[in-house]
Subunit: 196 residues, 2 copies
């Protein structure tokens, strides 16, 4: 390879360290001093790789948002019966949340204090609306119960899926992403009650 493997930081490798610290302490609760200690380089050295703290946040939430929006472009999310497209999107959301866990975690905790955070919140709303339309279509097809308002149901389902970031950890012996995705799909569509 022309570019030999570096033992120094790149913006990407530094990002992976920073996102971990952000998720541990919260973005506002993390100082550049914390980051420098976690990365093993001095505080000022960080600025050789990235423009500042907020750029790290922007890179992280962008990565998470790109992963989520990519789902909607996949074939199974675009063609077919609405309820089946919805099930596919729900399953893929769980997979993206688990595979990009630290980045999505950070995205879901953004509060809106800076321009970057407000931009992230806006894109999140866009994504939510796209999925809500899918659910509305499935309700129009009669494949989804009509006694719960679409907007409310969307929010509750998103709440269940997004809660993954609060407890899922890719442990070696723990449950896998597939297992979690199966459980989410079963509960979202079938509910908790024993099937008769």
């Amino acid at each position: 390879m022309t570019t030999a493997k570096r033992d120094t930081y790149t913006p990407e490798t530094l990002l992976s360290v920073a996102v971990q610290v952000f998720n541990d302490r919260g973005y506002d609760g993390t100082s550049m001093e914390h980051l420098s200690r976690a990365a093993g380089i001095s505080k000022s050295s960080i600025y050789h790789h990235v423009a500042g703290k907020e750029e790290l946040l922007r890179r992280a939430v962008s990565r998470a948002l790109d992963g989520l929006f990519a789902i909607l472009d996949e074939e199974h999310a675009r063609v077919g019966r609405a309820v089946e497209r919805l099930e596919y999107v729900v399953r893929r959301m769980v997979e993206v949340l688990t595979s990009e866990l630290p980045y999505v975690t950070l995205l879901l905790r953004v509060r809106g204090n800076t321009d970057t955070e407000r931009w992230a919140l806006e894109r999140r709303r866009d994504f939510d609306h796209r999925v809500a339309e899918l659910l509305k279509a499935a309700a129009a097809d009669g494949d989804v119960r009509g006694d719960v308002e679409v907007r409310l149901a969307t929010r509750l389902v998103f709440g269940m899926i997004n809660s993954l970031v609060e407890w899922y950890r890719p442990d070696a012996r723990g449950m896998g992403a597939r297992e979690v995705a199966d459980a989410v799909v079963v509960l979202v569509f079938g509910g908790l009650r024993r099937e008769s």
Copy 2:
């Protein structure tokens, strides 16, 4: 009344202002200067009513935790078939979340940076375990599906309920707490799919 109505702050009224700001900006993102501006008094005056920033946090999360734990002491949560007690607890959780919304919101966002936050996280775990045992009992009774692990199902259901704090707002013309509680119970136990 012996105690005439005050037009000045008490620790409680100051708390209600502080919790709003905490939820807007995040606890770490809120400075005492922010609080003083929102309360309309000087920064130093705040210390006349409370010991400091962390005491405001402790009071807030205590109030939320007390509300949640009180559910488990109610009669319908203690006697009866496990699945019915579970349904009652789920419904009451939604009611407490909506009635004590700002306090529970703050509780669900603590990260564990200080002793107060770690104590709050510990009590939250206690509560979760209590509800998980209820779900386990319902599964043992055969009233709840056995093909999804109890621990996993508990976390997902908690995720759906707790997500209320991210979007529920007690608007005048918006949906009421009862309406939300009904929807949560229907979705948790019955699922999204149209009932045949």
